[in-house]
Subunit: 100 residues, 5 copies
C-alpha cells in the first residue's frame, strides 16, 4: 500500500457507469516520514477521509473489488486513515501521530 | 486513478479482436495543478472525452472490464471528465474549473 | 496502453508452458511524438507487427487473456499497429502517418 | 518480488472491511546488496516479520489472495523472511546472511 | 515482459503457504543491449535458469497462475531463457547470442 496525504477533491459529472456517488480524493504520495514523493493521483474513499488526513491507499486490480459482487472501474482506494506510525530514522526510532 | 489531459487521437486499422470501434485517445498525465508529468499514454474512451479535456483514467487490470461480460485487451480507460478540483496549494487552497 | 516502436526479436527455446509459437518482439517505448522514452521491454504479437512499426501495447494482467479460454504467462501484448496519430504540439496540432 | 527491509509499523483504526487484525509493516525497498532504493511502502504480514528483517514482498493483484476464499483490499504482502542471498558483485560473488 | 540477467539466489525458510520448493532468483533488469537498468528484483523459476542466464520475466497478476489450478503469492516468474536477440542499434542491426 502507498502512504499518502489527502490534498483535495475532484468532481466529474460525466463518468463511466457504476461510479455515481463515489467520493474521489486527490492524494499526495508521501514517504514514511511524511515527505512528499512523486506525483498526485486520485483514490476512491468510502471510510470518511478528509483533507489533511494521512491515509493508506491500495492500488491496482485489488481496488476494483471494494464491492465484491459489483466490481467497478477504479484502480486506487483509501483503505485506512493512519492514526500513528513508528519508524526507525537512521539510528533513532521515532513515533508520530499523523492525524492528531 | 491518474489525472490527465487529452492531447490527441490514435488510429490503428490492424488490431486485436474486440477493439473494433473503440475510441483511443492520447493522454498527457498531469499533476493536481494541471502541470504535465511523465510521458504520454493511450486510453480508451466511451464517455465522449475530447481534445483539451481534463480526465480521470483508470489503469491496469481493472480497465479490462468496461464490458463486464466481455473483457477486452486494454489497460487504460477514461472514467470521468473533470468538472473541477479543489486542491490545497502550499498554505492556500485553490478551486479551479478545468474544463470550462 | 503504451506507445512503442518494434526494434527487434527475441528467441527462447527453453520456456514456460503455453508459450510455444508465440512471436515475441522487443519494443522501444516512445512518446506521442515518436521520441524514445524509458527502457525496452518485450511484447507478444499476434497481429503481424514487424520491425519499425509503431504499435499500441497493453500491459499487465489484461494481456494474459489474449486467448480467453486459455490464459497464458505474459504481461504485454501488441494490440494495434498505428496508422496515424493527431496530437497537439504546444499551440500547433500535428498529424503524422507513423507507419507509411 | 521486491526486496525490502522492515523499518516500522503503521496503525489505522478507521479502515475498510476485511482488514481488522491485519499487521501492516512499513518497508524500505532495497537492492540485492541491501542498499536502500526508491520510496517506502506498506505491506501486510502474516508470517511474523519484524523491524530490521529483510523480506520478500509480492505486490499487485496477486497479494489480494492471501486468503483464497476471502480476497481483501491489499496490494502488497510479505511472502518470505530472507535467510541469506548469494549475489555476484561485479566479478566477485558474495554470500551474505541478511537476518542473522 | 522484462529482459533480465540472473545474478543470484535468495533463500527464505519462513514464508507464506504455497511457496515451498519454489526456486527464487535475483534478477538484474537489462535493456535490449544487455545494459543494466533499474534495480534488482526476485522472480520464481521453474524452467531451470541459472546465474548468468539472460531471461524473460513476466510480472504482475499474470505470474500468479504458473499453476492454473493453484494460484500462488508471487508477482514475477521467469518465462524463458533467451537464446538470442536481433535488435537494431541506431542505423545498424545487431544479432547476439546471449547465453552462449
Amino acid at each position: 500500500m502507498r502512504l499518502g496525504r489527502v490534498i483535495g477533491n475532484v468532481w466529474a459529472t460525466r463518468k463511466e457507469e457504476g461510479l455515481q456517488g463515489l467520493k474521489l480524493l486527490i492524494i499526495q504520495p508521501v514517504d514514511a516520514y511524511g515527505k512528499a514523493v512523486r506525483t498526485h493521483f486520485v483514490a476512491a474513499d468510502r471510510i470518511g477521509a478528509g483533507k489533511g488526513d494521512h491515509v493508506l491507499v491500495t492500488s491496482g486490480g485489488s481496488s476494483r473489488f471494494i464491492d465484491k459482487d459489483n466490481p467497478i472501474l477504479i484502480d486506487a482506494v483509501i483503505i485506512g486513515i493512519i492514526d500513528s506510525t513508528e519508524v526507525e530514522r537512521g539510528e533513532i526510532d521515532g513515533t508520530s501521530n499523523w492525524n492528531d
